[in-house]
């Protein structure tokens, strides 16, 4: 069980958190303007990298806030956490998030 450093509460047990998949996938400005393909990309398609991944977590059994994290999916190491609305922190060369 990992420790996840909630940016509001500090490190807490993984069991307190809810996973939210890829971060920075914005709801489209105007869904009706999208083609079916574009809409499908928004609804169903997400990055699935083996390596650093910017993703969303919610501290659901704690402060109930959503936040973003960069985690290496190979090691599960959390490389950074940041609050919603904040830019993704600068990471080292090897930890660049694939996109």
């Amino acid at each position: 069980m990992q420790l996840i450093p909630c940016p509001w509460c500090g490190p807490r047990e993984e069991a307190e958190f809810h996973y939210g998949g890829q971060a920075h996938v914005a709801y489209p400005e105007d869904p009706s303007a999208l083609t079916d393909e574009e809409w499908a990309q928004y609804v169903f398609f997400r990055e699935n990298p083996s390596g650093p991944f910017a993703e969303r977590w919610s501290h659901s059994a704690g402060c109930r806030r959503w936040f973003n994290a960069v985690r290496d999916t190979r090691t599960h190491d959390l490389l950074a956490v940041y609050r919603v609305g904040e830019p993704m922190p600068e990471l080292g060369e090897k930890d660049q998030v694939a996109s």
Partner: protein, 951 residues
């Protein structure tokens, strides 16, 4: 045969423990393990092997033993324990196993629990290195946890009789333990095995708290406890396991590791036999030979595979009449239940190509083997530390530094005691510094009188010989021949060979066999071990009972039970309950002699004809506040919520982004900036999460706050034509007339003396009111309603009647009529999908090709042509009155089906392909072996014009 020495060892000879093994009554002493007690009684043969049925004995003295599997029969059956790890107690009944254990047929009466522990430094292993690491860290002020699988500290010192600083090593150990125990913030746990090492310093350890007490174990104390330790720094002082050398017929009872014999001698005062041949590739077995010889065991011969014996030790052996034959190996053994002879021959070529000369036969009842030492790197590997092959040791060792995990002592491959202790001290200091403490009071390094300090040995995996009788994995009956067959079959990966031969998959998980198998494979393939990837060490390090892992989360505590404020009344009035999520909801209230159908027909009839009430408190309730609340709800619901007037109520449907219905419920507008949203019982938490996700991650600029108020309110739907009269009786301040209190509006008032919010909504088509009061008063209001309704025969009803009443009106239940593939349009709810709103969640998906098919499955009613036939829910629907050969085209399925008091017949709801177009058609429902004809109808079957709504 009594092989117990008159003195020595950490056992209490003044107390006799009686136990039974394989039906034989035997005795031992406190301090014994089952294994040591068996050996003291001359019993070497414990069980038999899983595949070949060959006798199996005791090879090691601890948890790495590959063979001494026993079944405990009393006090309570437990399968597959090692005799070497079962502490002896009075009344123990056990038997040896043939590789398979037996589960008890009765439930385990014992309790189990778990405990969280946080520390700065966790030290695993209370041998010399671990003790000093722990003490060093403790003296710095760090919070320290020290765990050890044995019942006492000391580690390898327990199995030798050595002096440290001119006093028995046990005294040195006792002093350190005493200081640790008296240091605040230090926790020392015996009988506690760290079995799993996970991310971020999370270490799981199993403590056996009462196993050793046997029948005397108090029922109130958890038998085993899982420690969930979160540590900043870990020192692994896990020691090393001696490994054997493989030779022909190396599996006979009486053949054991040299260190094991030494442990049985010194810790338990037990001699392994009367005449022992020692076979070694390194120095350490010489100590065993000398110690045993001094204890009266006849040790005729040390067979040392190295070309030259160590001079000093050989001299010491000669002084004790022990012959040392260098450059020799044991090539085979004889014996039935126990070894009787060892064959010894010169090892012509130490690379193992062949044995020169004819073997000599030496009579013996014990063969002690040492092939070197394997550092215990299991936890280091679990912590994802890389391993590297050390060609001098012939084993895998720590291959990289980790920032929070340090290895010390013989777990590094170091075998010299002083060096081990120094490593422990350094690791303790480094761990303390890493956690912000300053080491103080350096622990002095003790001086050992051990004879065996030389570390280099010969790496020898096996002695050439009868390959099909040379056992690599004694428990799995896997031989050198099996390994060679595997490599001959084309297999190259150790993982493949492990699977082909099953080496390392048994109870011991290859603790003593894995390295040897890797070595034999490398030799067979002509590759370097350094280039081979070792098989992965997986948790748990030693086996852990299922019950210990389940802990307290069983029975009632398996998952929380949620009950409403009115629950005790339901229980007292004989309700049967339905599990809905974690909630217990009254299902129906049978009267004597009534089954489900009879009770539900009565409840339905009473409600439609007079008045009924139910406990709706489990419905999810979310308070949504803020200046953008309306805007927010407009995005979540398919229909418009911002236009709802204060004081009014609207039904709404929510979809996922894929356009499929996820929930429904009513929304009441409490104020200009405040709404109360209700959800289905099972989805309450999910919908709150859903709202929070959108608010926080997509629309943080919206001024909206959501909170769950589900448990604040007791909710009582009061339903039926007489509901107005009942409500009027208990709410004298409320004008209940249809004109003053319209459908889909709400009023704050006082009901039965309690402040209440009453909503005029209906899930049955009847005149109905939903009375909400604070949960605290729920039961009182319920009872007041029951009393006020008595003259009308007011009838409590449960979820089943609620389902029937709503189905008669064609109202869907989310999760019953829907299955994540159903749109609002499919449910016939296009009226609830806004055409005006530019967007809401799910809207874009309605335009996809699949959503615009005309043959989508749509919600309809089904009336069996025979009005007495009840369709089973979940029945499929077909088009023809005869079934073709499978696969049969199915048009849909029956989602709900009931006998109806109001309709005087049975009916059903169903999702049917092109359902709306098929109204009036006859379709067929296969039930058992027949096809039941049904007529497709509109989903609303009762009071289509809605005449009953206003009473």
């Amino acid at each position: 045969m009594n092989l117990r020495k008159p003195t020595g060892g950490a056992i209490d000879r003044n107390t006799l423990l009686r136990f039974t093994f394989n039906g034989r009554a035997l005795t031992g002493h406190p301090g014994d393990t089952l294994a040591s007690a068996l050996l003291a009684n001359g019993v070497h043969e414990v069980g038999s092997s899983v595949k070949l049925g060959r006798p199996r004995g005791i090879v090691a003295a601890g948890s790495e033993d590959p063979t001494s599997l026993v079944q405990i029969e009393a006090p309570f059956p437990e399968p597959m324990l090692l005799a070497t790890t079962v502490e002896l107690y009075d009344g123990l009944e056990a038997r040896g196993l043939a590789g398979q254990g037996r589960l008890a047929s009765l439930p385990d009466p014992a309790r189990y629990d778990a405990k969280h522990e946080h520390c700065d430094v966790l030290v695993v292993g209370a041998g010399p290195a671990g003790l000093v690491a722990a003490l060093t860290a403790a003296r710095s002020g760090a919070r320290v946890v020290l765990v050890d699988e044995q019942n006492q500290a000391g580690g390898a010192l327990l199995g030798v009789e050595e002096y440290l600083d001119d006093r028995p090593s046990a005294e040195w150990v006792a002093d350190i333990v005493a200081e640790l125990r008296s240091t605040p913030g230090v926790l020392v746990l015996e009988r506690t095995t760290a079995f799993g090492m996970y991310q971020d310093g999370f270490v799981l350890a199993l403590q056996k708290r009462t196993d050793h007490l046997g029948f005397a174990a108090p029922a109130s104390v958890a038998r085993q406890r899982v420690w969930r330790i979160r540590t900043k720094q870990t020192v692994l002082a896990t020691g090393a396991h001696e490994r054997p050398v493989v030779f022909a017929d190396n599996d006979r009872p009486g053949i054991m590791l040299a260190s094991a014999a030494r442990t049985f001698l010194h810790r338990y005062g037990v001699l392994p036999g009367s005449r022992a041949v020692v076979f070694t590739t390194n120095d350490s077995a010489y100590c065993a030979a000398i110690d045993l010889a001094e204890s009266g065991v006849d040790v005729p011969l040390i067979v040392d595979a190295r070309p030259e014996a160590p001079a000093r030790l050989a001299t010491e052996c000669a002084a004790r009449g022990i012959e040392v034959r260098a450059g020799h190996v044991v090539t085979g053994t004889e014996g039935a239940g126990r070894v009787t002879d060892a064959h010894v021959a010169p090892l012509g070529d130490i690379k193992g190509r062949g044995v020169a000369g004819h073997p000599d036969t030496v009579v013996c009842d014990t063969v002690l083997v040492s092939g070197g030492w394997n550092p215990v790197v299991n936890l280091f590997s679990q912590a994802r530390g890389k391993l590297r092959y050390d060609a001098v040791l012939g084993s895998f060792v720590q291959g990289e530094e980790l920032s929070s995990v340090r290895v010390a002592g013989s777990a590094t491959g170091e075998l010299d005691l002083t060096s081990c202790v120094r490593q422990g001290r350094e690791a303790g200091e480094a761990a303390a510094i890493a956690t912000g403490f300053t080491p103080g009071g350096q622990v002095p390094l003790p001086v050992s009188d051990s004879r065996c300090t030389q570390r280099s040995g010969l790496v020898l995996w096996r002695v050439p010989g009868a390959e099909d009788a040379s056992f690599v994995d004694l428990q799995r009956d896997s031989t050198v021949a099996d390994v060679l067959r595997a490599t001959g079959a084309g297999l190259r990966s150790l993982e493949h060979i492990k699977r082909y031969t099953t080496i390392g998959t048994a109870h011991d998980q290859g603790k003593t066999s894995g390295m040897i198998a890797a070595g034999i494979v490398a030799e067979a393939l002509g590759v370097e071990l350094a280039d081979q990837r070792p098989t992965t060490f997986r948790p748990p390090y030693t086996s852990v009972s299922f019950a210990a892992l389940a802990g307290r989360d069983r029975g009632e505590l398996h998952d929380p039970v949620r009950v409403t404020a009115i629950h005790p009344w339901h229980v007292a009035h004989g309700a049967l309950f339905e599990d809905v999520g974690q909630w217990k909801r009254p299902w129906y209230y049978p009267r004597p002699g009534e089954d489900l159908h009879a009770a539900v027909l009565r409840e339905c009839r009473a409600t439609r004809e007079s008045v009924g009430l139910m406990d709706g408190s489990t419905l999810g309730k979310i308070d949504v506040q803020g200046s953008d609340a309306g805007k927010f709800l407009d995005m979540l619901y398919t229909n418009m919520m911002s236009t709802l007037k204060v004081g009014r109520i609207r039904y709404g449907v929510m979809c996922g982004v894929d356009g499929m219905v996820i929930d429904d419920g009513t929304v009441i507008r409490v104020g200009e900036e405040r709404y109360l949203v209700t959800t289905t019982t099972g989805n309450a938490a999910k919908i709150l999460d859903w709202m929070e996700e959108w608010l926080q991650t997509e629309w943080p600029h919206l001024d909206v706050h959501c909170t769950s108020v589900t448990e604040h309110w007791a909710t009582i739907p009061l339903v039926g034509p007489k509901s107005r009269d009942v409500l009027a009786a208990v709410a004298p301040g409320l004008n209940v007339s249809n004109e003053a209190f319209e459908f889909m509006t709400w009023r704050d008032t006082v009901v039965a003396g309690i402040p209440a919010r009453v909503c005029r909504i209906s899930f049955s088509g009847e005149l109905a009111y939903e009375i909400n009061v604070t949960a605290w008063h729920g039961l009182a209001v319920w009872e007041a309603l029951m009393a006020a309704g008595e003259q009308y025969g007011i009838t409590p009803y449960g979820t089943e009647t609620m389902h029937v009443l709503r189905a008669e009106k064609g109202y869907p239940i989310i999760g019953q009529e829907t299955d994540a593939t159903v749109t609002p349009q499919d449910l016939g709810m296009s009226w609830a999908v806004s055409k005006k709103k530019p967007d809401f969640i799910g809207k874009r998906s309605f335009a996809r090709a699949e959503n615009n098919r005309t043959d989508r499955k749509q919600l309809v009613g089904l009336l069996p042509v025979d009005p007495t036939v009840l369709l089973p829910e979940g029945s499929q629907i077909v088009e023809t009155d005869r079934l073709p050969e499978p696969p049969v085209r199915m048009l849909g399925h029956v989602t709900s089906s009931y006998p109806s008091a109001a309709l005087g017949r049975t009916f059903a709801l169903a999702l049917v392909r092109s359902g709306h177009e098929r109204i009036g058609e006859t379709l067929y429902v296969p039930v058992d072996d027949s096809l039941v004809p049904v007529t497709v109808t509109d989903s609303v079957l009762y009071d289509k014009e809605g005449a009953r709504r206003d009473g």
